[in-house]
């Protein structure tokens, strides 16, 4: 498989960590579609990353759809989301809030990246940052409720799952991309949990 996109993208990184945990072999093509659209557009009409080219040439796009298909391609005992019912709903909700947090952090980042300085609109950045902080506060509470800062898994599963992957990356991305928000100080339980996750090979081998 070939995973197109930089690990700086939280969406690329949640696919990369998931590939590691599921045990898929892949190579990474570390490009951005802004600088190299021609490397992405033949595979993905949206010209977005992550784009995952499977060994048979089939291409998967959009991280939630990629992760659904990768789980479906994996044996039940390795999948990162429970198959159904309340367990799936709970794990998926945590992963969805983490992904929404990534979205809002990205929107805050993009304002500065894709606007000339004189068109930078601070109220819009702050609006998105506030939403991202709302997501991180929810995840911090989830770590406290499940008591997993030091051991165990966020969604009450018996092994690491997509809630753990996405919550960690939502935090690590906000820490890197919005340093002035002070998320480490504001969300200490999430910080401890994310640091435990980031120390494992599945995460540290795909550091941004």
């Amino acid at each position: 498989m070939k995973l197109i996109g930089l690990y700086r993208s939280p969406y690329v990184r949640r696919v990369a960590v998931s590939l590691n945990l599921l045990g898929f072999e892949y190579e990474n093509e570390a490009i951005t579609p802004f600088e190299n659209p021609e490397a992405v557009s033949p595979h993905n009409p949206l010209v977005r990353i992550p784009t995952l080219v499977l060994d048979d040439g089939e291409v998967l796009v959009e991280s939630y759809a990629i992760l659904d298909t990768l789980d479906d391609m994996s044996p039940a005992e390795k999948r990162l989301l429970p198959p159904s019912g309340d367990a799936r709903k709970h794990a998926l909700k945590l992963a969805a809030i983490a992904t929404g947090t990534m979205d809002k952090t990205v929107w805050a980042v993009y304002e500065g990246r894709f606007h000339p300085k004189e068109k930078y609109h601070k109220p819009w950045v702050e609006h998105n940052e506030a939403q991202a902080e709302g997501g991180l506060a929810y995840l911090n509470d989830a770590v406290l409720k499940a008591d997993v800062a030091e051991e165990g898994w966020l969604a009450d599963t018996d092994r690491i799952g997509q809630a753990d992957v996405s919550a960690t990356i939502a935090y690590s991305f906000a820490l890197m991309a919005r340093p002035k928000l002070g998320v480490a100080e504001k969300f200490p339980a999430l910080k401890a949990f994310a640091e435990r996750m980031e120390a494992t090979n599945a995460f540290s081998s795909v550091a941004p």
Copy 2:
């Protein structure tokens, strides 16, 4: 159930149409989180729509996670995505490209909505519009390949599914929100398909 959000939002609308097709009863609270954040924030830490409050008080957020849970709550013969394998991968990919198209259209819309006139950055709008058009071109090709402009379903299924729902709404939203793009003229097969879908009660009862 209570579905919070305006049908002008393509994400709210794909949940509404899906609720209709799955046969769930719901009421709609037609608000935006920008004007009424206090109506959303108690339910959703991201303060985003759609937010779906279930009858037992549980809350679902982010449309892909909401739709996954609604399918899981439904009998197999009503679900909007195939359960597994190539059929699921194919339908989910079409739905994901449709949703990515919604994302890029929303980004183009938001530039004008959340920036004062002097900070409107046209190149960023055009960048997002070009990506949205890439998605619509893919969906137009998919309609042609599956030969479903006049009858049948986009993902080679024997009944309407999430690929049909999301592709239709991606088109209808772009038509409404970016009228200058001329998407009806550029993507005639998708136009015919979407008009056929929009004429059904599941869609027309939740018109924007």
